[in-house]
Symmetry: C2
Subunit: 394 residues, 2 copies
């Protein structure tokens, strides 16, 4: 090894061993981490939780859990509710629940034929939604953003303040910059809207987020209450619109790929040598299962193609469930598409014989992406409560 030291073209040892490096853990880090852990338990719990229960669930001492809970209370991220009628001996527990006033997530959506805005509070509840129908194709970006600003004001709920804002667009968005690479159905190309979103809502603490419509819709689906106990931590969400997009949720988190362009299922080849696609290739899923093709060829043809593409995704990602969204969720279409896709999965997915893949239609209707965008903001607060706790104390 010593040889390396005398090698002249080697870089100086002391300079720049790695250009960038992650920040080290310090004592503040463990507090941030534990605050987030506690907050997640409070948010995910089906009923109000006591400080003692939090301590037991995490393994912290009651002293620690209590101190952290008090910090969350002081920051306005959770609230205390009256104790229940005691069922056993001992001092009754005070219940902790996510706050339903204070910081909340604002979600905006621009789609081909409508604009939407949505507010979701820290408990994950949708508090308000507004939509404005109208063709958005080939409009000036500035005008669209002005309209969205109006909607954001209209959707405001008394007692809720924007913690952050997220915009859903039907197109490719670069991560983590939020640059809109292209949204072909809107006629948008290479746009930077983050700064304008920030000005739109300067009081928000979080930086604006921009993301793909299907991705945000998937996020909304991931956090929809499931009455049948089905898993919603890992699934593929396929959104049928003019184009076909997919949002992939893994362990409750959106998978975006290294540059944010993951989930482009619309251009998976399902019919080699098939119809020409506007992307330049032939036989893309979009040419058979996109909205226009769907109307022309009918749902049966779309089901076959969709089944093939979805099976490929499930084989590659190892997913236990698939959700059909967008127009695919419309009852008449879902009645054909759900069984069609389920059949294709049973046939083509390697693990299906011993682990069948569940297929269902989305529970969310229109403006799912706006809801998901608002949810994304709320999830950021859930994941990093320390910023609010610090601010509340200072």
């Amino acid at each position: 090894m010593e040889r390396l030291w005398h090698c002249q073209d080697m870089p100086r040892v002391s300079k720049d061993p790695t250009p960038i490096a992650a920040a080290p853990a310090r004592q503040a880090t463990i507090r941030e981490s534990n605050l987030a852990l506690l907050y997640r338990l409070i948010v995910d719990a089906p009923a109000p939780v006591s400080r003692a229960a939090l301590a037991a669930a995490t393994g912290m001492t009651r002293a620690t859990a209590s101190a952290l809970a008090d910090a969350l209370l002081a920051g306005g991220l959770i609230a205390e509710v009256a104790p229940p009628p005691a069922a056993s001996a001992g001092r009754p527990a005070a219940g902790l629940v996510p706050a339903r006033t204070g910081p909340a997530g604002w979600g905006l959506e621009v789609n081909v034929d409508y604009l939407a805005a949505c507010v979701v509070d820290l408990s994950g509840t949708v508090r308000a939604t507004v939509m404005r129908h109208g063709d958005q194709r080939d409009r000036e970006v500035g005008e669209v953003l002005d309209d969205l600003a109006d909607l954001a004001r209209e959707v405001a709920v008394p007692g809720l303040k924007p913690a952050g804002i997220a915009l859903a667009v039907p197109g490719l968005v670069q991560t983590p910059t939020g640059r809109i690479q292209r949204a072909p159905n809107l006629g948008w190309e290479d746009l930077e809207v983050t700064e304008r979103l920030r000005k739109l809502m300067p009081e928000a603490m979080l930086a604006p987020m921009v993301g793909n419509e299907a991705d945000f819709a998937a996020l909304a689906e991931a956090h929809a209450g499931l009455e049948d106990g089905a898993t919603n931590a890992d699934f593929l969400y396929v959104s049928g619109e003019i184009g076909v997009g997919a949002g992939i949720v893994l362990a409750g988190e959106l998978f975006r790929g290294s540059r944010g362009w993951a989930g482009e299922i619309g251009h998976v080849t399902v019919e080699p040598g098939g119809a020409a696609c506007r992307c330049g290739a032939r036989g893309c899923l979009e040419t058979v299962a996109g909205l226009e093709a769907l109307q022309r060829l009918g749902p049966q043809a779309a089901a076959t193609a969709l089944g093939r593409a979805v099976a490929a995704a499930v084989n590659l990602f190892d997913l236990p469930a698939v959700v059909l969204g967008g127009v695919y969720a419309r009852a008449d279409l879902a009645a054909v598409l759900v069984p069609g896709v389920a059949g294709a999965l049973a046939e083509h997915v390697v693990s299906a014989p011993w682990a069948p893949v569940a297929v269902r239609a989305s529970r969310w209707g229109e403006a799912a992406a706006a809801t998901g965008a608002a949810t994304a903001v709320v999830r950021r607060v859930h994941a990093e409560p320390a910023a609010w706790v610090g601010a509340g104390v200072a």
Copy 2:
């Protein structure tokens, strides 16, 4: 919200808010985290690193970085090398490098026509490889494991002790249990070999790992030195054998899916209504690009099909690079397959126009999976050095 408290069918508040919960961060956690951070910098550095450089790169104080480095030294995970001829003023820096003696990774591979074993030290260097050719199909599992035990002894290198052992098999392996779901080409079905691997090498500190052959080969590829500066943090590794498998590497880590069955590219449909596959479906990639079909139909047909399936994967995962391994890496085949796949990607991948996808053949030959398996063990030590540091002190 208070309503919830009086709802009789609600679970008791204090009991079981969440069945399981992650462990909280304690003070030991931050030390473990920082040890791992420092160790990674030392391992990834192209030349010996000084304590001061580590402090600068991480943002820790020199005092902290120094203390942690001393702990790694005491644990035998790194070594100190003599200072270089000083190039500037100031006290010369002592260099820190990964240890080349002590703990090392043992990798085993069982394939259709050979067995292999490999030892990789903490610097990531392959120190020894042994292979034993011979048909392994339909052999008794116990016999095969006995042969592997022999190979593990043969491959031993003086001065290196097993930190752990990993086994690569050509089949589906459940994660994180390590249960072999099925390895059709070996005739194996539903096997539990972890316990036998543990007995094979009882002095190893880490629990035995079992994984898919293509996955481990991908891992080997991810950590191969790249002379051309190409990225190897995110890529798709496609392994052509009797079957066709893929290992997906994201941010330097293997993506296995929630149950460990990700990467099943061999049964993606590439020719609707095509030849029957042994999986029961028709037109799977394997029926055109598997080893037998490859010999029958030639590489040109395989290239077209492979291009389609790989394009689907790249569209879904947003990957900047693809590596062809297994028999696909053989020079004569690669000469056809690499340009063929590259052409298909340029045509079918949505982001290709502004972010071309790199395609190349694997640099590793046979026994790539054994190398990758050994690498996986080494990576575990890199990721969790605290266990060794603690042991070294006690």
